[in-house]
């Protein structure tokens, strides 16, 4: 009886957490406390003329691939916006400075390289388009 209650409790907690995480993942957050500045030399690439979408990925991340294809296909419609993907593990100093905690994390940078929004988890296509329209 006791162990059945434990199993039930674990399944309820996991379901609640899974639903919460699903709702939150990929949401583009424009209320950022610290406004980080990214230097082109830190990401090994020039910044986009009007904006840069900086994606942090890792080898142990399934949705990073989907995020890459979403972002590169959206960006192909905006000639002045650039999509740059960096490997989080080989850029740990940058990861710590920008407080990247999981992959994929996507930063939206303005033309100066200043962070104006970020999405933790795979963002949806329409969310990305909406964010770009506001930049």
């Amino acid at each position: 009886m006791n162990s059945i209650a434990i199993v039930g409790g674990v399944l309820v907690l996991a379901t609640a957490y899974g639903l919460w995480d699903r709702k939150r993942t990929g949401r583009i957050n424009e209320k950022i406390d610290s406004r980080h500045l990214v230097n082109p030399s830190e990401i090994g690439s020039e910044l986009g003329e009007s904006a840069t979408i900086l994606q942090f990925s890792s080898a142990f991340c399934t949705p990073c691939r989907a995020t890459r294809s979403t972002l590169s296909s959206v960006v192909s419609h905006y000639p002045k916006i650039k999509h740059v993907e960096v490997d989080a593990e080989s850029n740990l100093d940058l990861v710590r400075r920008l407080d990247i905690r999981q992959t994929p994390t996507t930063l939206f940078l303005n033309s100066d390289g200043r962070e104006i929004a970020r999405a933790v988890g795979a963002p949806k296509r329409q969310q990305v388009i909406n964010a770009l329209e506001r930049i």
Partner: protein
Amino acid sequence: MIDARGPRWSAGLTSIVLIVALITRSPIIIILQLVQFGIAAFAGPPNSPYAWLYKNLVQPRLSKNFESEPVRPVQFAQLVGFIFASLATIGALSHVWLLFTIATSFALFAAFLNSAFGYCLGCKMYLLGVRFRSV
């Protein structure tokens, strides 16, 4: 690249096995699951017994069109499962049932999330682990 449905099916089977282990407190069952985790973590998920079951019993009945995904995130999650199942096995063999229950519950939590929500454990844990390890 592997069939993305395989790991989710395996995680479902893992959840069932872990539920049975929690209820019966059977060392044999948790050891069998430990062996499954160990083979998947160290020899690769496609070489594990659950993957064999999936390929021979389940995949032939499913659609031939499927999404594929990289194998390394799956393998990382199996390593996390292996660590929890090791603790659970130590608990079961030494009759420290609190250790057994907590470790098995954590493994069930992760396996259920993976199966029901496609949760990517490597995305959330790997980068934090690297950041922590090399501070």
